[in-house]
Amino acid sequence: MTDSVYQMIARAQAEYARCIDDDRLEDWPDHFHGSCIYKITTAANHREGLEGAIIFANSKGMLRDRVSALRDANIYERQSYRHILGQPSILHESGSEVRSETSFLVARIVQDGDTDIFATGRYLDLYKIEEGKVRLNERIVVCDSSRIDTLMALPL
């Protein structure tokens, strides 16, 4: 039985979230195609059409650099995320490309044990399905709030 597009997207979303939450950040760039856009912004910026972002990458290399900086360069207290994802809405299908939108809630667990809601928002995604593999051409992470507590180390 072959998966429907919906199932393929849902599975890709789940794997993406597990990858970050399980601290397998080195695998995170592999959810993207080589030429890609990954951006974290706020709902206010998105609504006003402002391009500036909290994180902006337009290559898989930049995603890898984000991971190596987190591992080797940047200083932040040990922390982890727990992503809770909504059901993906398939907005548009065109050949091998699929546009979808998925809501998320991310709790952040810091080393002293506090768990707080760190971010809520939605993923605006452009997936490309190649040889049965689903990867992102574009992921715009739109955070509902414009306020970020302390710092944003791990990707959303």
Partner: protein
């Protein structure tokens, strides 16, 4: 939270900072009165954020909410966001356009764009009954108005009649360094975000002024030669101590020196980028300066890190909580390539910035570290005890400068 009153010891030295200044409610209260409502200039918004009459933005000076507007005469006005009647916010939106007047939702007391009280609902009562007394004069009541100064597109406001004109407040050296970045140019807002810092506002301002930490805490900075203490560069501290510039320029002729390696600092590593286009900027200022961090007392920062330009507004929210409002900038004449460069280099700054995320947490490390040590003191002796400009950036002169201006305004 500590409630007791402390006496700052005589300021014969700027090299010690007692930790209670970051902890007590009384200090926070006095700062609101003597600094935020005192003789200081406070960044409010950019001129380009209010291009037309009827445009408005709300912001804060310390705890005090403020409305900034542009009126038909083309001038910028600002007034306290507090209804003269019962004190409710007059304007609830963060920004907007085409506003003819501001009407308080509580009892519809209405203000013009300059903050003048122009209307009171049921002022004359209903059917000759009720209403305000005849003696009540609307022109005698209204939210406090701010003095406004605009410098190279930056709008500053002050509650004080005593504060000197902005050019005099800043001095020539600081003003000219603002002009270097913004003079004659039309900025474009690329984005905004607020970073909520878990610490007292002064710990962030100390951090901004601390050129000593930059190449030690921020590995990313150092390894890519965006900033090394051994580079060409200097710090400028103005006469008051409160404003500073720290800058550096890549000295291509100089060989890599071994000072860092000798000291075995964490900063020396073999970190390489998979996509080095992040750091491939364009020559914007033709003076070789790749980094210029400028602060205006008490709570404004203008940043140029390569082509990442931003203004930062610091707003205290509580003794141990501070909003850091980032506004990322480009310019109207940017080419698409230049714009893309800025978007990429903004990865260096902000809440997820390669070279600024640590600044978001290090203030919290201090706030937590000093929790039981109100009577202990921080040491600021790097580079001596003065608060003067310096060719060396291995100095805490501009941090001492902050405390010089702070003590002066607080009457300590």
């Amino acid at each position: 939270m500590l409630h007791e009153t402390h006496e700052l010891r005589p300021a014969e030295t700027l090299t010690r900072v007692p930790y209670w200044v970051f902890q007590t409610a009384e200090t926070y209260r006095q700062e609101q009165e003597r600094i935020f409502q005192g003789p200081s200039w406070h960044y409010l918004a950019l001129d380009v954020e209010l291009p037309e009459a009827g445009d408005f933005r709300t912001t804060r000076i310390g705890d005090t909410p403020v409305v900034v507007t542009r009126d038909n005469d083309g001038e910028i006005y600002a007034f306290e966001n507090r209804c003269a009647h019962r004190g409710a916010l007059i304007c609830l939106d963060s920004h907007g356009k085409g506003k003819k007047d501001f009407s308080c939702v509580y009892h519809a007391w209405t203000y013009d764009r300059q903050g003048n009280l122009k209307g009171i609902a049921f002022k004359d009562g209903v059917k000759g009954k009720g209403g305000m007394p005849e003696s009540f004069r609307m022109e005698d009541h209204g939210p406090r108005k701010l003095r406004i100064a605009i410098l190279h597109g930056l709008i500053f406001g002050s509650f004080s009649e005593e504060v000197p004109p902005i050019e005099e407040y800043l001095g020539d050296e600081i003003s000219s360094r603002i002009e270097r970045v913004l003079g004659g140019r039309k900025p474009v807002v690329l984005g905004r975000v607020t970073q909520v810092l878990p610490n007292n506002w002064k710990l962030y301002m100390e951090n901004v002024k601390d050129s000593y930490h930059a190449s030690i805490l921020h590995l990313f900075f150092t390894t890519f030669e965006l900033n090394r203490l051994s580079q060409k560069g200097a710090i400028i501290v103005d006469e008051s101590g409160g404003h500073h510039v720290s800058y550096s320029a890549i000295d291509t002729a100089a060989e890599k020196d071994a000072e860092y390696a000798k000291q075995q600092l964490r900063s020396e590593s073999q970190y390489k980028l998979a996509d080095p286009s992040l750091l491939q900027g364009f020559d914007e200022y033709h003076d070789g300066v790749t980094l210029q961090i400028l602060s205006v007392f008490p709570t404004f920062v203008l940043q140029q890190i390569q082509n990442a330009i931003a203004v930062r507004q610091i707003v205290p929210r509580a003794i141990d909580k501070t909003d850091l409002n980032w506004t990322y900038l480009g310019f109207a004449d940017d080419t698409p390539e230049q714009r893309l460069t800025r978007l990429k280099q903004n990865n260096l700054v902000g809440p997820a910035g390669y070279i600024s995320m640590e600044d978001g947490c290090v203030g919290g490390f201090v706030q937590r570290g000093i929790a039981g040590a109100s009577e202990q003191e921080a040491i600021l002796e790097m580079g001596g005890s003065g608060a003067q400009s310096s060719e060396s950036r291995v100095t805490e002169a501009s941090v001492r400068g902050f405390w010089k201006a702070y003590r002066s305004q607080m009457g300590m």
